[in-house]
Amino acid sequence: MGPFPFSAIVGQEDMKQAMILTAIDPGIGGVLVFGDRGTGKSTAVRGLAALLPPIEAVAGCPVNSAHESQIPDWAKVTDRDLVEKPTPVIDLPLGATEDRVVGALDIEKALTLGEKAFEPGLLARANRGYLYIDEVNLLEDHLVDLLLDVAQSGQNVVEREGLSIRHPARFVLVGSGNPEEGELRPQLLDRFGLSVEVTSPKDIDTRIEVIRRRDAYDRDPVGFLTNWRGADMDLRAAIVSARTALGHVEAGEDRLRDCAELCVALGSDGLRGELTLLRAARALAAFDGDASVTRDHLRRVAPSALRHRLRRDPLDDAGSTTRVTRVVEEVLG
């Protein structure tokens, strides 16, 4: 049974847009979805997996290498054919052990056969795909440290128990959580390219539609998936063509200036804000089929690219979105 189709998710346009943008340009660097319970956060991530175009990879390779030459030397790969694999979307469960995340000495083999073998972890499987962390704000500190390091270097280095192993680990980080249960460390917050806030729809009709679709899916998953397959495939085709168009989208001097002015006006730390804003706007332009980035594109991606980079005002919980919107209006007119 397939997951609930992405296109059948009612509303939550911000979240859907952010996920589509990272699917177009993984370099944007991940999505953080913060919001109430039962608003379809994990449903969207699982639906996204079905939407992503497949990747070409070596069949037996534990890190999904694109070519035979890239297979790490520690991996004993017997099946070296290039096959199409679905883009990996790997769950990092809360409370996963460090061994399971980075990989470790294969204890079974060590104890039973006396063999020193490396057992790859979740980071290896997530290479060239997505790493999804539900309840990311409850993730233990030592795992956060580890993820920060790997996300920055794109490489997983394992130096323990007599092993010395490295393998590529480039993935898009998708996190979701409920802010009432705990804050995210600013360093990790900064790693997410886009951040969206989801709330339960207030409008009764929207809520009814959500329940109606979910109920239809629960009663007859196969029929429901068939009905929505077309919409999902259209979206996938749009993502694929946007990926091709991405390289040709122009971003003029004026737009760069707009980005910089926005970030200065908001006082966001570092330059990652500008870079993400530009990349996201470019991906959106590609998705829309436009040849160049316009102010409208910037306006539409600015809240999700910048809201988590502001200095926090402790008394003002919901304020960052409003602040971004206000500044966007001031700067872009």
């Binding site: 319970r37 329940i211 402790p314 008394l315």
Partner: protein
């Protein structure tokens, strides 16, 4: 029928509904102390759930039990890998006693397992004594039926009438139960009016309504079924008293004398539907009767409770086996979080090799037994940062600023002995100032403290704000902040720096609540000549103990502060 019998009747129906399709409903959150009433419910459950696999889980259950793993003792004995199957791998009904003790990590894993729809359901037996001890909300949201049996007397609770044969018939009927088109709309509307934001709740209510229809032998959901679903699923989740007309639903029929024709019904609903389906108003009446009496009390307490529960977030104190200073390995069972120390394991096994070779007759392999396994251990000392917020206003200076300084110095030397970080915030005049960012330097702190001048107004809110910002900063660095507030009185300067007593008090209260929501430990020390009225109220707002500075007894002060600053 008395209220108790009425409630018991509902419990009976709830169990019967659950028994029809446990997986669709997620399960039951049963809040009751251990006792004969709960025993009866459990007995009823066992009767009702015949044919399902029932498994008991412990709140401390580990990952190897949940997800399966390598059975190390069998593997070692047989010389090949033997795997065990995890509890979550088989469709079953999980019974979790002491559910209020579930950690957020386990809750997240169980929630993910319930979401995967592999035929799992959970009966959470919550034995929490007070409102703070409760099931993690991630799980509560996914369990359809919430029952609270705290008030249930045994005399009103006869054995439950659950007939397996009748249940089996109803179960056969369940897939054929149809739903009137308006039912979804009405459940959504009731949920919205009760302030139930999660969209899972109406879905779960639908499942209960279907089961209830099947139980009464109908193949169509009727008014009574929806009412039961509201009572069991939506009402216990309510976060507000229902308003008669929500602002967000202007399409609601405005005429009170025509309550049975809400205009948001789809056009294809025929007249029969309108006549026999209840409008949301009627369902709301059912919900109102079921609202927990302490709803308001819970609402005001809610935020603080939620924040303080999630102690597993950033920077909390930990005894880990992941990082920190290595300790000697110890013997133990691998699995879950533990990591095997290979070298120590081999070292433990080495002396026994000749003897084991003789015993087994196998010469060529390494003989390792379970008792040889050694696990790694680490000791992680989470850095504590004590933030002293000192009132240096004119009144304090006159009173006992000197003594307060002495008390702080005493605390400082103890903090130094434990290698805690210390930070100093002072407020006087119009604003607060961070005199010293978190440091371990005792000398520097003492110097800054002795130079602290006194005088001016009491900008308490500004002081608290500075403390909050500093605490957030230290938390971001992985430390656990504690706050010690030393003041002698009431705020008279507001956040904007204006001398406005009313606004100042309001700002101080708002800041105090913002700090309380973080759930940090702390203490409020009254440095006044005599206990100041209003300070204990502030301490309550902060969620911290209140302590009048004892005269000339800095040592007992230091002991008291120490006791209340250590995170639970």
């Amino acid at each position: 029928m008395s209220a108790g019998e009425d409630r018991w009747q509902r419990v009976n129906l709830a169990l019967a509904c659950l028994a029809l399709d446990p997986a669709a409903m997620g399960g039951i959150w049963l809040r009751a102390r251990v006792g004969p009433v709960r025993d009866r419910v459990q007995k009823g459950l066992e009767t009702a759930l015949q044919g399902h696999i029932l498994r008991r889980l412990h709140p401390g259950v580990g990952d190897d039990a949940l997800f399966g793993g390598v059975d190390l003792s069998a593997t070692l004995a047989e010389g090949r890998v033997v795997r065990t199957r995890g509890i979550l791998g088989t469709p079953s009904v999980l019974i979790m006693p002491m559910a209020e003790r579930i950690k957020s990590g386990l809750a997240a894993r169980l929630a993910a397992a319930l979401d995967a729809q592999n035929g799992l359901s959970l009966i959470a037996l919550d034995e929490g004594a007070d409102a703070d001890e409760t099931l993690p909300s991630a799980l509560a949201d996914r369990l359809a039926i919430h029952l609270d049996l705290a008030e249930q007397g045994l005399s009103d609770a006869p054995d439950l009438a659950l007939d397996p044969v009748a249940l089996a018939e109803a179960r056969a009927l369940l897939p054929r139960v149809t739903l009137p088109d308006s039912a979804i709309a009405e459940l959504c509307e009731v949920a919205a009016r009760l302030g139930v934001t999660s969209l899972r709740a109406p879905l779960l209510a639908l499942a209960v309504a279907r089961a209830s229809a099947a139980l009464s032998g109908e193949d169509r959901v009727e008014t009574a079924d929806l009412t039961l679903a509201v009572e069991l699923v939506l009402a216990p989740r309510a976060t507000q008293f229902p308003q008669s007309e929500p602002d967000s639903a202007p399409e609601e029929a405005p005429e009170p004398d025509q309550p049975d024709t809400p205009e948001d019904q789809p056009d294809d609903v025929d007249d029969k539907d309108r006549a026999d389906m209840p409008p949301a108003e009627l369902l709301l009446e059912a919900a109102k009767a079921m609202l927990p009496p302490d709803l308001l009390a819970r609402l005001s307490a809610g935020r603080a409770v939620r924040a303080s529960q999630s102690a597993s977030g950033t920077g909390a104190a930990k005894k880990g086996n992941h990082r920190g200073r290595p300790l000697p390995s110890r013997a133990g069972r691998p699995g879950g979080d533990a990591r095997v120390d290979l070298v120590a394991t081999l070292r433990a096994a080495a002396p026994w090799q000749p003897m084991r070779r003789q015993m087994t007759g196998q010469q060529d392999r390494l003989h390792i037994r379970m008792s040889d396994i050694r696990l790694r251990q680490f000791e992680e000392t989470s850095d504590r940062a004590i933030i002293f917020v000192v009132d240096a206003s004119g009144s304090a200076a006159l009173a006992r600023l000197g003594e307060a300084k002495g008390a702080i110095e005493l605390l400082l030397s103890e903090a130094y002995a434990r290698r805690d970080h210390v930070a100093l915030v002072a407020f006087r005049g119009e604003t607060a100032e961070v005199l010293l960012p978190p440091t371990r330097s005792l000398v520097q702190t003492k110097r800054r403290l002795s130079q602290l001048p006194g005088g001016g107004g009491t900008p308490l809110a500004a002081g608290l704000k500075a403390a909050l910002e500093l605490a957030l900063f230290t938390q971001g660095k992985g430390m656990t902040p504690s706050i010690a507030l030393l003041t002698d009185g009431r705020a008279n300067v507001d956040l904007a720096g204006m001398a406005n007593r009313a606004q100042a008090a309001e700002d101080a209260t708002a800041m105090a609540r913002a700090i309380r929501a973080r759930g940090w430990p702390g203490i409020v020390i009254d440095t006044g000549l005599r206990p100041t009225r209003g300070l204990d109220a502030l301490a309550r707002d902060l969620g911290m103990p209140y302590l009048p500075l004892p005269r000339a007894d800095a040592r007992s002060l230091s002991a008291a502060v120490d006791a209340s600053l250590i995170p639970a």
